[in-house]
Assembly symmetry: C2
């Protein structure tokens, strides 16, 4: 039996530093649980001089990540570099060398997961990625293990803390998007280039991973519909509030054996939907499945320590397999590899949901009948119509909520409406996911 597990860390950024910290601070508790020590042997990073607030002198340090990947003493390679370039090369090399791998690289797994998983399976090594989705929430473990007896039906998540913080600030303080984003940057909740977060790509990476796992399918990342939050205004949030809704950036996956929905966009959800109370930088995900009903996980979706917690859990999972000289105990993608199949993703045009429209229209007779006439032509039935709010430069907000409608019909109707003379600005469309958790 092994006397200790040797770990090699690639990338001493925020999460990498958090990992080193946990392995040092909680060494005793980890040994008490695992039975043998987990030893962080080597750290590779191109910058070994910056102060990360932790002592590095007990570790082997190198600027050459390949040295870690090729070190015969290293059992587990932890990839915390990120991105789709060098990280991919190093992971594949580590697998080739028979090493177990832990990563939090959602972009890589979302786009190139399948061939990497196949390679790991061929080489008989484990590849763990709990930290790639939902930070500290054990959603990967829940899907692969706790819900193993379930047919997953829907997954709905608030998976990006930056967006949730910004939307919470707009909601609570009436800030405009740009001001809320600025605040998020000032508080360290958003990066200098926030595109990946606020335009929904980060959320979509996570949704791709969840969708693959949930239904046992290979997903083409480009099939996911992605819309960010930069167009959301305090006015829409105020209207939503009046109708009993909050606006959240949701990752939505609805499964079936013939087709799945996979989309990321801002959505209105009712106050009594549990996700509506998940505020600030918190993340949450609800899973609906045939046996379990509905289950929710909630916690910090990012940050140094919460994410490091999941990385450590992955390391321990693998260490426990190594101690018993077994690997691949749980299939990498939840289903046995030969059971993974392509399931088509329904194009956004073909989905049906409820809609909120806000038009800025000239305050004159006949406008309402013109717009509702166009909607009617496309079979879009209205649940309610509200003309309220201040008149600005002769225009007033006209808000409409629809019954269930098809996206393609909605887009066709909007194409006609947006070019009307009486419509002053680009119409606002927010989808409504009208699911209550009230019993």
């Amino acid at each position: 039996m092994k006397k200790q597990i040797n770990i090699g860390l690639l990338g001493l950024g925020t999460v990498g530093t958090g990992l080193a910290k946990v392995l040092m601070d909680n060494e005793a508790i980890l040994t008490a649980r695992v039975g043998i020590p987990l030893r962080l042997k080597t750290i590779a990073d191109i910058d070994l001089d910056s102060d990360r607030g932790i002592p590095l002198d007990t570790f082997e340090l190198t600027e050459d990540a390949h040295q870690v990947v090729n070190d015969p003493e290293i059992d587990i390679v932890v990839e915390m570099i990120g991105g789709e370039g060098i990280a991919k090369e190093l992971i594949l090399k580590a697998i080739q060398n028979g090493k177990q791998v832990v990563t939090a690289n959602k972009a890589l797994l979302a786009k190139h997961g399948n061939p990497i998983f196949k390679k790991a399976q061929e080489k008989g090594v484990d590849l763990a990625y709990e930290a790639s989705v939902g930070g500290c929430m054990p959603i990967i473990k829940t899907l692969r293990e706790a819900l193993v007896g379930n047919r997953i039906q829907t997954m709905t998540g608030i998976l990006n803390g930056t967006c949730n913080y910004i939307l919470s600030k707009i909601t609570d303080e009436g800030l405009e998007f740009a001001a809320a984003l600025k605040l998020a940057k000032a508080r360290g909740y958003a990066e200098a280039d926030s595109t990946l977060d606020v335009e929904g790509y980060d959320t979509a990476h996570k949704l791709a991973i969840l969708t693959s796992l949930g239904y046992g399918m290979a997903i083409n990342f480009d099939d996911i519909y992605i819309e960010g939050i930069s167009k959301i205004t305090p006015l829409d949030i105020e209207f939503a509030e009046q109708f009993g809704y909050r606006i959240k950036l949701l990752a939505i996956s609805k499964g079936g054996s013939e087709a799945v929905e996979a989309r990321v966009h801002p959505a209105m959800i009712p106050f009594d939907n549990l996700l509506s109370n998940v505020n600030g930088t918190l993340n949450a995900i609800t899973v609906t499945a045939d046996v379990v009903g509905k289950i929710m996980l909630n916690g910090h979706g990012a940050g140094m320590m919460p994410t490091a917690s999941s990385v450590v859990a992955d390391i321990v999972d693998i260490a426990r397999n190594l101690l018993r000289q077994t690997s691949g105990r749980v299939p990498l993608m939840s289903y046995q590899m030969e059971q993974i199949r392509p399931i088509p993703v329904t194009p956004i045009q073909n989905i049906s949901t409820h809609y909120y429209f806000r038009f800025l229209v000239q305050d004159r007779p006949g406008v309402l009948s013109t717009i509702s006439g166009i909607l009617g032509k496309y079979g879009i039935s209205l649940k309610s119509v509200h003309q309220k709010g201040r008149k600005t430069e002769g225009s007033v907000p006209l808000v409409m909520l629809t019954h269930l409608a098809r996206e393609e019909d909605v887009q066709n109707a909007l194409a006609e409406i947006r070019v009307l003379d009486v419509v002053s600005r680009e119409p606002m469309l927010i989808r409504i996911e009208d699911e209550s958790d009230r019993e």
Copy 2:
């Protein structure tokens, strides 16, 4: 390698029937995930004639549970009988025979867990019990695996659906406790004898298991303070609402290396505590830990199918170990057995929290100063005082909220106050857990 896993089920009650149903209905999906079939070979129950709505003709049926436990073909024994008598005997016999065991028997594990776990460890078999706490929520897996790198600090749970349903009905509809209990029974959410649920014992069983797991300790069940919900009135709930609180039956565990708190009682929690929005029969648990911060799980805590979902997850976990001829991969009690130690449970007298008092007092001068004088004598400092509500037979409700106070001081003060001539009824005391989830 094994070609299939043979399961023996003891007890075809609600959850047992749910398990048989999942294994039949989701056979294909389970095989696609596990790789080989899980076969329910034998079912033992003293009543094999009642219709459970599922076909039983493909199973071996027996009235003799020992036949299952002694069957050399059975790999996993699933104990769904409950209670501390025959269930304990059968589990110990199964372990003795080298069988893997799955159980949801919280009363048994809360009171006799340690010797049973030791026996399983000695015989090198797994004993899984995810369904014993929180129904479908994977809280055991989360504590044993996902949070393995964390020092657990607090666990706070709504762990009994019957109580949560009753409190929700009192809150939403202003029902008296007795009427809400009657409704719960009519809807099948409470059993004929509801004592175990409404007096908090069921919650305490679950808390005992969580506390052992969280801190790596052996717990004496009798050290847990237990108070149920039968004294809660609509009036208290209304007052709570006015102060920004909801009343929930909480399981509270606060850990340290020198002492832990473990208590079950109704508590007021602020609206922006995530647990306050967990209503109806739903359960939830929050765990605070040093690395992860705070994490919450939420779902159905009971019921045929949600509980069966966890039992299946346990079966699959064990099946995956059997396929690799390993067991004890994750320590039964989260820590290596030799690391489990006794940590004293702080007596309720020594805990400190905030309090809500409601006195029914005669509406005459001097009453307030007498009562506040007694509280002051014991060092209990008041946060606010409210005299409001209708006068009944010359008495009015006097409500007080305290700053942090020690339980023993509070009990001593109440002992003096309850015998005052001006106090018409037994004083009401509800503890306040003033933790907000607002960022």
